[in-house]
Symmetry: C2
Subunit: 409 residues, 2 copies
Amino acid sequence: MALVVQKFGGTSVADADRIRNVARRVVETRRAGNDVVVVVSAMGKTTDELIRLADQVSSTPYLREMDMLLTAGERISMALLAMAIQDHGLDAMSLTGSQAGILTTNAHGSAKITEIRGDRVRAGLDEGRIVIVAGFQGVDPDSKEITTLGRGGSDATAVALAAALSADACEIFTDVDGVYTADPRMVASARKLEEVSFEEMLELASSGAGVLMARSVEFGRRYNVPIHVRSSFHDGPGTWVKEKTMEEAVIRGVAHDASEAKVTVHGVPDKPGVAVALFEPLASEGVLVDMIVQNVSNAGTTDISFTVPVEQLDAARTIAQTVAESVGAAGVDVDENIAKVSLVGAGMKSETGVAARMFRILSDHGINIEMISTSPVRISCVVRGDQVTEAVTSLHDGFDPPRMSAVNS
Amino acid sequence: MALVVQKFGGTSVADADRIRNVARRVVETRRAGNDVVVVVSAMGKTTDELIRLADQVSSTPYLREMDMLLTAGERISMALLAMAIQDHGLDAMSLTGSQAGILTTNAHGSAKITEIRGDRVRAGLDEGRIVIVAGFQGVDPDSKEITTLGRGGSDATAVALAAALSADACEIFTDVDGVYTADPRMVASARKLEEVSFEEMLELASSGAGVLMARSVEFGRRYNVPIHVRSSFHDGPGTWVKEKTMEEAVIRGVAHDASEAKVTVHGVPDKPGVAVALFEPLASEGVLVDMIVQNVSNAGTTDISFTVPVEQLDAARTIAQTVAESVGAAGVDVDENIAKVSLVGAGMKSETGVAARMFRILSDHGINIEMISTSPVRISCVVRGDQVTEAVTSLHDGFDPPRMSAVNS
């Protein structure tokens, strides 16, 4: 008998009908002979509604109370799902993050999972029950305070729970079919991948493929939990994320991300300590810096460019201007009209010429490259925002990842 | 510095505006120099909405999961109230029933409070915080399962918490101004009582005065916690429920209850064991029998009448018919068109002639009495349902409880 952890997000449990659908899928998995642990998010718009209420009663809600408030969301969805499963004649029980032993740091609103005890989950399984666990939430064991995990928290709960229970698989049910070679809304020829390695998925997640957050993939990789990303609306297979794929494709896919902006500090004196002066205050203010590029020194000064989420651009600019003044730089420019295009594939570690070919394809399409950053399994280029579709499409056509994947899967 | 427990019901926290109003009242109480513990119910219609969702996903929802579901309601209101208080610059923290140490039996949906630990409540107060506790919910210490207390549960939480913390008073904020000498919607001359004894309030609550449930009054009496029933919409004083009133009024008020029906078993053989045969199965099926009247024996048979809540009439009739057959009774009649009218007042213990005067007043108004039951501080008569307004009005006029109360308060 296999143990499967199944995670259903907010859209999958948005109303009573969908909860009954989820119950049917869980019951099928159980009747097929598996032990099942289910992780659920809050129903559809519940979290948004609770945040709206909080804004109506307080100008600056305390994070501790926000966590108390928002964790009501999963409590509702998990209890309803338990009832819907019980209606099929199977035994089910719901557990809060605290009851399931999801221990976290004390950072309200963005806690990290430190340990999963899971005693009551195991006891429930031993009694033949389907156990439903609230995603997104946990408890700080020192203060006994309820915490939430922040963005992508329910996926992290599911994968971490699967790791702690030594589950055979973790299934992430979502509103897309799986991981694609490119965004199918942008590239008509994009194809679903049957499998992708943890390393590739990490790069894809960090490069704009929103289907799975990097923190969940990181958990999967660390504890070697195979993750199946699949649709909650039909039974077809999705994409398996696992340690080794059968053979490494050179290029697994093309990702893009238009949610960042670029900050450039011009005429920075080229001397030790300048980068620290800039990126330490950015980090301490919580600005999520993605790419950093520093050009070669020219007459004793250099330009430093970096990208940040658009919603943090104002904070980043303010900090950059202060630092620029204090280190004697020439000035600060910002640019919101950019997009990042990334080629991802574990095969490029042993393949030469991938970068050159990427630059050639972009150049042939009249697309200027403004920043470049690379990892062993990824090459990212920042281009003009209004050229992103052409960049993604031409790279997808030029590298033909669907065919390569098909050959290798 | 006094310690006050304030309880706000669902209508008092029905939306963001009302929650802000409640926060203002709590803050005023705190700024007046009191330590404050607040007990809240779920917002307005939240509980009804959650029950509707449960009905949509399951034909017979498990009670354990209903408790998990419904306890999300207070979690939302208490977190929002904490935020609204924090917005005034005061420190506040919300605690679930489990966190506040509200220990209960394991009867999901109708648990009884067995102990209140309250460690985290006291710690919060010691740190200068306003502590908000979820009403209606607790935890079974053996199974660690979350429970709910059933009808009137939030009032019970508040009074029990006040008892455990040795609070100076428990304020129950509600949508009425206090306890009246009669239902003010029925009797224009009804007046608000300034105070009423626990004993009288118990009889009033059991006789149809819905403002406070008997179980809360019972807690108040056992631990001698003065309870102040007052309006959540204005600052005026309400009614104090306490051990001794300054002087006992003969009649404190007239209560009525039209929510019961009458069952009569005719021609019951007058021999030992017949009452047991009837009332044991009723009790074991959970039928809440209120008044019981057995007439004097006539030619070896007697009639037994009793009243039950209208919604339990069908169950009561079925049981009565089975028993009637097995003991050889003549038959069973039921009557939904009845009402119970009660005079309540601790002074009638030492006063003679109250019952005679009550019967005279009803008779003078052409109102037939169908059943009578008495306690040391109460006389109840069952009359025709369509005569209830005339019965209450004529008794209120005849005994003039407003004047008597005014004299004594």
